[in-house]
Amino acid sequence: MGTQNFLWTFAKKYFTVGVVALTISDRYASIVPVRGVSMSPTFNPHSSNHSSTLMGSNDDCVLVEKFCLEKYKFSPGDVVVFCSPTDHREKHVKRITALPGDWISSPGDALKIPEGHCWVEGDNFASSLDSRSYGPIPLGLVRGRVTHVVWPPQRVGKVERRIPQDGLPF
């Protein structure tokens, strides 16, 4: 009888903590690992494509804030987390390089970003699947904005807004 009571209280406590943590992670900020090298050298500057699949401990962890989802107001150069337009279960991290109304020049022609969309690109131009493949993405797919790197300790710091010059890698 006593053990049952104890287990029940324990379960209730766990459940409450879980619900509160989920709310905070949805509405305010959460910490997520970043996989892959498409954002080198901003995230994962030293891993190669082969080793990144081995262990999560090599991945950078970043702080993602959710306050930006109130007004969906972003600036060029923001790094954002968004649902992939080709698979809604996957989340990608890329940098916004153009907002609605801006013009993007791709080899051959110029493209105007439609209302409610944005153009995302990875910092590592050579190996990044981004808007250059699937076009501008609706801002409604954005799930948060990356503000800081929190792991590994030697690279803890703010993620700066940077506007890349056309064609020049970082």
């Binding site: 509160v20 709310t23 949805d26 509405r27 698979d87 439609p114 969309h117 609706p138 409604g140």
Partner: protein, 163 residues
């Protein structure tokens, strides 16, 4: 407990009450985001299914999260033209489907066929004469879907499941 000055007792009670309210609000958020939410739909694009002046609907979040939204379902979706707006439309095709639609029903009967790309859905309002949907802005990514409408709460005459 008995030895605490009355001031601290009040502070403790205040904190307990605040914590209870906070826990309740968190539970509300989790239910709203992961189980079921209510939405007010207004406008002419879903006539005759939904009224012009506004219907209060219940939408469940579980089908969308598990990818179980299919053609014929009414979904609430974040507008690709304005991320702050949520609209209600019917899904006419999912990825891989071939959708045939009337481009401008008010002026001609010209039809076009399009294949829905991977990870996208094709949405149309039931009232194709007055609906801003995939016929204007193309197929939308599945990730914009916020939920599937399954019940109408208001107006009372329409109370019941929505097909």
């Amino acid at each position: 407990m008995r030895n605490l000055p009355p001031f601290l007792m009040i502070v403790k009670e205040g904190l307990d009450k605040t914590l209870t309210v906070a826990k309740f609000l968190c539970a509300l958020h989790v239910t709203n985001t992961y189980l079921c939410t209510s939405v007010m739909a207004q406008g002419p694009s879903m006539l005759p299914t939904f009224n012009l002046t506004g219907d209060l609907l219940l939408a469940e979040r579980i089908s969308a999260r598990f990818g179980r939204v299919g053609p014929g379902d009414i979904v609430i979706i974040r507008s690709p033209e304005n991320p702050r707006k949520i609209v209600a439309k019917r899904v006419k095709g999912v990825e891989g489907d071939s959708v045939t639609y009337v481009v401008e029903p008010k002026s001609s009967d010209r039809c076009e066929t399009v294949v829905v790309p991977k990870g996208h859905v094709w949405i149309e309002g039931d009232n194709i004469y007055d609906s801003n949907d995939s016929r204007k802005f193309g197929a939308v990514p599945y990730g914009l879907i916020q939920g599937k409408v399954f019940w109408r709460i208001w107006p009372r005459e329409g109370f019941g499941s929505v097909r």
